[in-house]
Amino acid sequence: MSQRTSGCIPSDMSTSPFAVRMLGITKRFPGVVALDDVTLEVRRGEVHAICGENGAGKSTLMKILSGVYHPDAGVLEVDGRDTRFTGTRDAERAGIAIIHQELALVEDLPVAANVFLGRERRGALGLLDDSSMAEECSSLFSQLDCAVDPGDRTGNLRVGDQQLVEIAKALSLDASIVVMDEPTSALTEVESARLERTIQRLVAQGKTILYISHKMDEVFRLADRITVLRDGRHVKTVDTTATSPREITGWMVGRDIAGHDFHGSRPRGDKLLEVRGLSLPWPEHPRGYRLNDISFDLHAGEIVGIAGLMGAGRTELLEVLFGAGDDTWTGSIELRGRPVRFRHPREACEARVAMVTEDRKRLGLFPDLDVAGNVSLCALREALRNGLLSRTAEEQLAAGPVRDTGVKTPGLHATITGLSGGNQQKCIIGRWLLTKPEVLLLDDPTRGIDVGAKAELYTLIDGLCRQGLGVILTSSELPELLTLADRILVLAEGRLTAELARAEATEARIMEAATAG
């Protein structure tokens, strides 16, 4: 392998109490200082959480630790030795494995091939030794106490299992330091709980864990110490026992975040939507259906929350309501007393139903259009002057929702991908507000959005509801539903297992219904 490696200068061979020390790290990118004199000290064998809003510099810091980036200034010490990585391979050799937020797996290859990608074992004649790799893989998975078949096509695994593949890869590298960049952002509660057990097992084996997360409950359950970054600067490193979630989020955003609650009763209006006996078949699956016999109502001025584990059918339900899925469902949907059956999202738009999709980047954003173009897209006809699009009219059109939803942008010409996740989401909500919807479907709208922006989105959604919209909201985070929703429907494996009024809903009751067999 590469001879052009780091100059690993052994300066202090005595065992340092720190697995990793990053001192005075500075990293600049054209036009922005991503990290400014950041210091991070991680003790051997601890779970060290790194918290910060999007853009605080967490990922950049981890990319420096894993050899992706070079710092412009600062010292990196691994196991007490001054270290300079010239590539990710160097970091791997030093025992650092990183599990990126966006998993880096080749979906078409089997699990074992992914675990050994780039370090394939070879047997006789230099041919691949698949059986030995599969065996090693099985033993890694049994260490992790989970049942993943090394021969399965990786793309067929659920996201939670794919993450375990990454962890197995880290184990196979014999990494002593494992970095996890927002590992639970795509996981269900059950999968998150399993991941927590996995992390505890890794710690028991003497590994050091660096854990990046937005989710305070997880951080406080797992971490020994917490480092908070804000705007590329180090704010504080504290013992978990000596602080509170409220204090941490306060440091993250630089202000005290009040526990937002929208308990003020919203006036409930006419019935907008009546769903009766909705079923969506799933022939190739043993269960036979994606949704089975779902019935509920939605009124104007009401937020109905939909809870459920991943695969429970939350997204499928919204897709049926929006005409975005397969048109094979049975049952009835009435919109303002009129039966509807949308075959294309266009028909839903025309009937004043709007949907903000789950995966912003993949299903919502147009990276080549600017902010104005992204916002005005669904209502472009209103920007026609003499039959042609007028840029001025388009900007006037887009300016309204950009202002109303509180998008922070340097201008309507700005590239949408340069905005933060929260502002991108506000742009997409603004896009749909231009279609003057009566029913707004929000599929996990705050996923991957930082704490401050979440609170802003809650205020926005509550405000829209008070203006008379009917909102259906799904979320992978229960506190979010409890904060916003008037009623909560719980789905479990495609069936409606509970309908809870806000007063009777608790996390425990929802989880109970979501895991009902």
């Binding site: 590469s2 853009g55 990922s59 980036y69 929006f322 147009f366 259009l369 472009l380 006809r381």
Partner: protein, 425 residues
Amino acid sequence: MTPPNDAHSRRSSEGSPAPQGSAAPRLRRTAWLGLRPAEWALVAAIVVAVLLTGIVDSNHSYFRLPWQSLTDILRNTALLGIFALGATVVIIAGGIDLSSGSMIALSGTIAATTMLALAPKEIMAFKPVGPAVVGVGVLAALLTGFLVGTLHTWLITAVRLPPFIATLATLVGLRSFARALCESCTLGVVGTKSAQINVSDPIFKAIRDNVWIPVAVFALLAVFTWLLLTRTVLGRHIHALGGNEQAARLAGIRTENVKWFAYCFGAMTAALAGLFYVANESVAAPVNQGRGHELNAIAAAVVGGCSLSGGVGTVPGTVLGAIFLRVVIDAVSKIIKTGADVYEGLIVGVVVVIAVTFSQLGALAKGGTRLLPGAIGLCAIPTLSLLTGALAAMTAGRNGGIATGVGALFLLGLLRVWESRRSTT
């Protein structure tokens, strides 16, 4: 052997190293006089190419016969440009149309066979067939374009073939179909099989003799396409479709219909170009007419700034790309003189690589990426030197070839050394 540098490959695979969210959002690059910086660079490249050709060409034909040179370039540019505009729309919509060269052949053949069927005696006797017959022939050709575009859309949206496969099938299929049609029509109408049909109606001759006709058609079509892409809802939907197809559908855009328009526009512009090729050569010859031209159209679009992943591209860019391509091809023919068409493909290839690399020169200069990294870079040095040396040997003789090859080897070696030193400091 040196294995690839991980840090380097990681960085380039991630694109710009902007950190999440915190980077100040980029503002759209300002256009000056309607053209972006890259397009001004193309304008400059065109001027430089013309001036160089005028000086290097030993006949100095640009100075002695400016009008004739201009006419040549204009005609070729207009013909290429017409269906390059179609390719631009298809590419921005996130597709690709490999079949335009064959569509050119089919369009000419349809027009000629229609006229042959309607006025067999006049065609065989090289006599005028009259505007009505010509009109029907032209309409039949354009209608064929619409049908082929529809076929593409059906294959792509209903049969769910990738656009590359669907239009690869028609690339080989349509030309063959055109040849069969030509042979069976001539056999049926005249009694003898023929691989081509002569078209000598005065209307076609007028088009051949008046260069402003194809130029005017190209200009009108360019203005139309520009308005379409920048000032209509459909145009915006084309950009949205190419930028993110799933999001476009979920935003309520009838993506199938947008694709239908794009592929029909692509095929119909090729059909229109096919008519001009027939007029130019006074013959519909499906064996060779338009052969390989699909790649020139795609090259013009790419040189003009279109991204093959869709969503990005402009009409001024494609127009300049087409002019640039034709100017360079013309330059080679002026400089080499005899048998220059042999080098046409080579020139198009080199121009595309250079033009697309040019847009990344900024990153290379800043020290982000290396042009000759690792073992691949090492092996690329003799490859490139051999290529330039062989080229020079064929055009300037053996000694010139050796000198050029050795010179290239030396320069590339120097670049390699400089890059390695820069990356270690």
